[in-house]
Subunit: 255 residues, 2 copies
DNA sequence: ATTCTCTGTTCTCCATATCGAACATATGTT
DNA sequence: AACATATGTTCGATATGGAGAACAGAGAAT
């Protein structure tokens, strides 16, 4: 029995499945609701949620429904502070924002989503409306293509076979063969561009980087209004993002 | 076997004990370090941390040490959004801040600490350096006394018998009998004041409120420079905080 | 008032997680 | 290089948690 992939403590897996369910749920949920949604036994859910309630991780309402609790909130503020990925990358996002005046993002792939882990923009900037925690479509912009470019061809082809390419704007590419070529190009050139394909009027650069961890696709990307990115700055911004990605990779490999 | 106080799923209890330990730890920790700190069996810790690592709740470093992970961070952002206590109280903190220009806080008691769960101040305000997540000494200011005032006398007396009263400033009260009277006065008048007792130059008001939940002491408090609080405004600010606390209590009792 | 439906709670058996011991690997010391 | 120490990993016995069934209580429908 090896350590890879095997969930050794099912109670903990169930516990976080419940927490994630309550995260997605807009309302507090009861024991039967949780049991049905996750197909767990009611007595199992009963014991887990009461344990979590005692620990302050969940709050129990008077109507016997459960919501996320304040101790989870406090626990998680520490998690953001101590995540090595966020800590290492954050200063690079700040530098990208400072030099380009674009919003800078750190994201990872999660299934068919690009999840934003961190973001830097300034008080003076035009704010891009993606926030930390948001799950953007993977097949939707430069960030997604940069993340995809880190997958093997076989996996990319499997995804493209299964999913339709959404048409977000008139510029969106919906031809799968062409899309695959764009992902490969992103891999070769180590950068992806989004010229109004996901949101009209918006331009984005995204650069994948490696952290040495298996099964983790990471990218950083810069997003702004197209008019913030004159043609003559594209090359310069591209070089900057690649330089930042190289710096990040060096940080992960010095150990 | 009743639901009260009994930890039904020990693996979950151990799991959060590990997460809290890593929160407090300034560095990543290994299996043996966690095992020693919490007096758990190494194979138990081994299984739990690898399960958490697979779930993204912990990150495993190349040197086999574990740190808090990005999924915990993302989970937590939702927790702050859905905590009923924080959601109900937040608009009242905003109103306090707007009308008094003081920094407004929501806090709860945790052992001998006052833990800040939420805070509102404005761009224009002089910033008070307490942040969300901070654990302030319970015997240290208006907020702590407001929280203490919700405990039974016996518990307060037990705490005062056991702990020394710290002298933060020349104005700090270190006489236990007098301190007990101050807590009782806070209970009777439903407000506590801090006139440079915890930090010199700082004035604070704190008002306890009830949420209907057992074993939870909650208070809201407003803090600023003493010169922001002219004598003629003390009564007015006091009435405002009491009014906010009454509004909060009404919200918790309409159900 | 009675019955029905739904949710929460309790109890018990058995499949399994925890613990202790032993082993494997890495690092430090001589 | 050899040895000592520390940490991580594995295995099996046993104590125990999860699941299923039954029960209790609350609310809705008649």
């Amino acid at each position: 029995m090896s350590t890879s992939g095997f969930k050794r403590v099912p109670a903990i897996e169930k516990c976080f499945a419940i927490l994630r369910l309550l995260t997605k749920s807009k309302a507090a949920m009861g024991i039967t609701g949780i049991s049905r949604a996750l197909r767990y036994n009611k007595s199992t859910v009963f014991n887990i949620v009461h344990t979590l309630s005692d620990l302050g991780i969940l709050e129990q309402m008077p109507d016997n429904k459960f919501n996320l609790g304040t101790d989870l909130y406090l626990l998680s503020r520490a998690a953001g502070k101590s995540s090595e990925l966020i800590q290492i990358v954050h200063p690079y996002l700040e530098e990208i924002n400072k030099k380009t005046k674009l919003s800078a993002f750190l994201g990872i792939r999660s299934g068919m989503r690009a999840v934003i882990l961190d973001k830097v923009d300034s008080a003076f900037d035009i704010k891009i409306s993606s926030e930390v925690g948001m799950r953007l479509p993977l097949l939707g912009g430069a960030g997604g293509r940069a993340l995809l470019s880190q997958l093997p061809d076989r996996e990319i082809e499997r995804i493209l076979a299964k999913e339709e390419l959404p048409k977000f704007t008139p510029q969106s590419c919906v031809d799968k063969k062409r899309y695959l070529m764009m992902i490969r190009k992103a891999r070769e050139e180590r950068i992806a561009f989004d010229d109004e394909e996901y949101i009209e009027g918006i331009y984005a650069f995204a650069v994948p980087f490696r952290t040495g961890r298996q099964n983790l696709q990471t990218a950083l990307w810069a997003v702004g209004l197209k008019r913030q990115v004159p043609k003559e700055m594209v090359q310069q911004f591209s070089e900057l993002l690649k330089k930042m990605a190289s710096g990040i990779e060096a940080r992960f490999q010095l150990r």
